[in-house]
Amino acid sequence: MMDIVDKIKGIEGVKVTVQRENRIFVDVSEDKVISTLYNMKLIGFHQLSVQNVIDRIKDNKFEIFYVLYSREYKINAIVRTWIDRENPVIKTADKIYPSAHTWEREISEMFGIKVDGNEDSGKPFILENWKDLPPMRKDFDSVKYSSEHFVFRHSEGENE
C-alpha cells in the first residue's frame, strides 16, 4: 500500500493522508483537481464510485469529493478540494470518468454549483420547477419549506 501512496505523492500539489488500510485522502487545491484525477486514473484508479459535495457553511466553502477505486490495488482514494461558496464553479471530470457526468448534474441541481464543460449542468434533473435555494445547501431550511408549501395534518395530542 505504501508504494501506491508514494506514487500519489508524486502528483503535483497533493496532500495525502492515510485514514486506515485501503482508504486514502488526497487533498488538492481547486485548480489542480482535474489534473490530479487524470493522474490518479493513470496510476490505476479506474473507477469513480461517487462524486458529491459537502456544504462547509462555517468556512464558507463547498467541499467536493471524488471517491475513486482501484481494482488492482484494492484501494479507495478520496480526492477532495474546496471551492468558494459564492458563485461556485467546478470543471467537469466527465472526460476522465464518464460517470462523473451524472453526478455533476446532481451536484449542480442540489448545490447550485455550475459545472464548466458539462452541457447538462443546470438542467433540471431530479427536481421539478424548483425555485427555492438549492435544497442540499445547509442554509436551506427544509422544515420551513414544508410548512410553507404543504398542509400539515395534526393529531390532537398535546405537546407539552
Partner: protein
C-alpha cells in the same frame, strides 16, 4: 455451474413445470387459513398506561414525529395522575406517520410500551388512525424490550470510595468523586426527560446542567444549578437526592448519579465568580435573617441578587447550620463549606457570627430596624426520649456529639458505644464513633451498636448509609426499643436494656410503637448517644409576638405559599416549617421561595400588605 448446459438451451425442459398442476398450492385460503405471526412482530402499539410515566422519551426518539403526549383526561380511561415521578400524559400515536421502527419501544424506560402482532386496522376517517394505545385494546405482544440489547445505558458508573479499612482511620472525605471520563459517561446516560425535576424540592434544572456537563461546559452547568440551589457543591455531597429516586432509569436499570454529577461540576470550578446570578440594582431595603443554615443562606443569596441588603445573625462561630456542625467531615469537608458560604458572602451578604438573637440583639429590635425578617433557625436542639437514666453525663445528644467532633475537635471516645436511633443522623454518629475508635484503639476490642425501633425494611436511614455503616463494623439492633440504662456499681454505664418491638406504626399508620414487654435483652456499652430527632427553640421571640405566631397541627410554623408567617413581615423556612422534608435541599428550596415572598412584600405586594 456448467455454463455450457445453459448455453445450449432446451425446448422440452420448460415442460417439466407441468408437474406443478398436481401439487398443493403455496397460497393460503384467507381468511379461513392464516399464517402464524412472528414472535417479534412490530405491529400496532400496546401501552400499559398504569405503568407508563409519561416521560416522553418515546416522543423524543420517534424519527417520524408520530408520537404526541395526550392529557390524562383524554386517553379514554382513568389513570392515576398524581403518581410520583410521572407526568399526567400518555403517548398518542399517529399511524399515518409511524414507521414501525420500534425505537420508542427500545427507549421506553419503564417497559410499558410494546408492539403487538396486530397490524390490521381500517377506517374511512383519516383522523381515526391516531390513538392512545392501551392494554385493554386486546392486542397480543410482539416486539418488546430487551435489557441485554438496549440503546438505554442502564448501568451507572461506579463511584470510587475509600475502602472501609482506610476510611475508618481518618475523617477524610470518603467518596472520591467522578473523573472527567466517568462524569461524561454518566452524563451521557441522561435522556433529558426531566421527570427528576419533580422529585427535587428545589426543582433544579437537572437535564440542562447534566447536558452542560456532557458538553464539558462546567461553568454553564453550575450557572444552571445556582438558579435554584445556592449550595450545589454541598448538595452534591450530602443531598438526600430525591431526584435519583424519580430517575426513569430506576425501572430497568440504575438511576443516574445526579448528585455526584453535581459535585463533579462544582469541583471543577474554584469559585463561582463568573457564574453567579446577576445582581439587580440596590433597592435600599434591609432584611435580617436569623440562622445561617441552608435555608437562611439560600434566602440571603437570592435576596441579595434582588438588590436588597441582607444580614445573617448566626449564634455559632460559623455559618452553615447543620451543615457546619452536624454533618461529619468524611461526608462534607470544611473547604467545601468555606467555598460556597464564601460565595454567598461575595454577593454582599453580611454574616454576623456568635450573635444570639434574644440575648445579643433583641428580636423586636430586628423587626424595627429591618424591613423584613426571615427565621431559619432549624432544629438545633436534641430531643430526649425520657429514657430512665438518661441524665447521666455519659448519655449525650447526637447533635452535641457531632458538633464536638466536627467543630471542637473532640477525638476521645470510649470502647463500647450505643447509638439510639435508625435515621441518617444515627448513621452519622455511629460512623463517626467507628472512626474515633479506630483512631484511639485501632478498633481493638471496641463495639459500636445502634438500636432502632424500626426493622430493616422501614429503617429511615438511606440504604447507602446503612451499607457504609455495616462495612465499617457498626452492629445493628433493629426492632428493639430502649427501656432503661443499666449502671455498674461504681455508677458508670453498664449497658442499655431494650425490649422487642411489636409494631412501630399502628393501624392508622401513625407513629405509635408497641412492645413485647416480656422480650428483653441488654446491650452492653459504656457510652450512649441519643439520636432520635431534634427540636426548635423559639425562646428569643417575646411572649406577645409568640402568641401571634400560628402553628400547624404538627407543631411546625404555619407559613403561606410565599413563606410568610402569621406575623406580617416575618417569614420562615427550613426545618421549622411543614413543607420542609428535613433535608438541606428542602430548606434551600423554601429559603428561595421565601426570598421571592420577601421581595414581593418589600415591593408592597404582600397578601396582607
Amino acid at each position: 455451474m456448467n455454463i455450457k448446459e445453459y448455453e445450449k438451451g432446451s425446448f422440452l425442459k420448460p415442460l417439466t413445470s407441468v408437474k406443478y398442476l398436481f401439487k398443493k398450492p403455496h397460497t393460503l385460503r384467507y381468511p379461513k387459513e392464516t399464517k402464524p405471526v412472528a414472535d417479534r412482530f412490530r405491529g400496532l402499539h400496546i401501552n400499559d398506561v398504569d405503568k407508563c410515566i409519561g416521560c416522553g422519551n418515546c416522543r423524543d426518539i420517534c424519527p417520524c414525529a408520530a408520537i404526541t403526549m395526550e392529557k390524562a383526561s383524554k386517553i379514554g380511561r382513568p389513570i392515576e395522575i398524581d403518581k410520583k415521578g410521572a407526568n399526567p400524559v400518555r403517548p398518542k400515536i399517529d399511524y399515518g406517520r409511524c414507521s414501525f421502527c420500534a425505537l420508542c419501544v427500545e427507549m421506553c424506560p419503564t417497559g410499558s410500551l410494546k408492539m403487538s402482532k396486530d397490524l390490521i386496522y381500517t377506517s374511512p376517517d383519516a383522523e381515526a388512525f391516531a390513538w392512545v394505545p392501551l392494554e385493554e385494546q386486546g392486542r397480543e405482544p410482539g416486539f418488546i424490550q430487551d435489557n441485554e440489547i438496549t440503546p438505554l445505558m442502564l448501568e451507572a458508573q461506579e463511584m470510587e470510595e475509600l475502602e472501609p479499612e482506610v476510611r475508618k482511620r481518618s475523617f477524610e472525605e470518603m467518596i472520591l468523586g467522578f473523573s472527567e471520563e466517568q462524569a461524561r459517561k454518566e452524563a451521557m446516560r441522561c435522556l433529558g426527560c426531566g421527570i427528576c425535576m419533580q422529585g427535587c424540592p428545589a426543582h433544579m434544572k437537572i437535564p440542562e446542567y447534566i447536558q452542560a456537563i456532557f458538553d464539558g461546559d462546567h461553568k454553564k452547568s453550575v450557572k444552571y444549578m445556582l438558579e435554584d440551589n445556592v449550595l450545589p457543591g454541598i448538595c452534591g455531597r450530602i443531598c438526600t437526592h430525591r431526584c435519583q429516586d424519580d430517575c426513569v432509569y430506576q425501572y430497568r436499570g440504575a438511576p443516574i448519579h445526579i448528585m455526584w454529577l453535581k459535585r463533579y461540576a462544582t469541583d471543577q470550578l474554584e469559585d463561582y465568580k463568573d457564574v453567579n446570578i446577576e445582581k439587580m440594582p440596590a433597592t435600599g431595603k434591609k432584611v435580617a435573617i436569623i440562622g445561617g443554615g441552608p435555608s437562611g443562606l439560600s434566602a440571603a443569596y437570592h435576596l441579595s441578587t434582588m438588590g436588597h441588603s441582607v444580614t445573617i445573625f448566626e449564634q455559632k462561630n460559623r455559618a452553615g447550620g447543620a451543615l457546619a456542625t452536624g454533618i461529619p467531615l468524611y461526608r462534607l469537608p470544611i473547604y467545601e463549606l468555606d467555598k460556597e458560604i464564601g460565595n454567598i458572602e461575595s454577593m454582599g451578604v453580611e454574616i454576623k457570627t456568635n450573635v444570639k438573637v434574644g440575648e445579643d440583639v433583641k428580636f423586636e429590635d430586628l423587626l424595627k430596624e429591618f424591613d423584613a425578617v426571615y427565621i431559619g433557625i432549624g432544629l438545633s436542639y436534641g430531643r430526649s426520649i425520657n429514657l430512665k437514666g438518661e441524665e447521666h453525663p455519659d448519655v449525650v445528644q447526637a447533635i452535641d456529639f457531632l458538633r464536638q467532633v466536627k467543630v471542637e475537635g473532640r477525638r476521645d471516645i470510649t470502647k463500647h458505644v450505643i447509638v439510639i436511633g435508625g435515621g441518617n443522623v444515627a448513621m452519622d454518629v455511629a460512623r463517626t464513633v467507628a472512626r474515633l475508635q479506630e483512631i484511639n484503639y485501632q478498633s481493638k476490642d471496641t463495639t459500636v451498636e445502634t438500636v432502632s425501633l424500626e426493622d430493616w425494611d422501614i429503617m429511615p436511614a438511606s440504604q447507602e448509609e446503612i451499607d457504609g455503616a455495616l462495612e465499617e463494623g457498626v452492629i445493628f439492633n433493629p426492632a428493639w426499643g430502649p427501656n432503661q440504662v443499666i449502671f455498674n456499681e461504681d455508677g458508670s454505664i453498664k449497658g442499655l436494656e431494650v425490649k422487642k418491638v411489636k409494631y412501630v406504626f399502628d393501624e392508622n399508620h401513625r407513629f405509635n410503637p408497641a412492645f413485647y414487654e416480656d422480650q428483653k435483652k441488654i446491650i452492653y456499652g459504656d457510652y450512649i448517644i441519643e439520636s432520635v430527632g431534634q427540636m426548635y427553640n423559639f425562646s428569643f421571640i417575646p411572649k406577645e409576638l409568640m402568641e401571634q405566631l400560628k402553628f400547624t397541627p404538627r407543631r411546625k410554623v404555619w407559613v403561606d405559599e410565599y413563606g410568610e408567617t402569621s406575623i406580617p413581615g416575618v417569614f420562615a423556612g427550613g426545618d421549622i416549617v411543614e413543607t420542609s422534608k428535613g433535608d438541606a435541599i428542602s430548606a434551600i428550596a423554601n429559603g428561595h421561595r421565601a426570598a421571592i415572598g420577601i421581595d414581593r412584600f418589600l415591593h408592597g405586594k404582600s397578601r396582607r400588605g
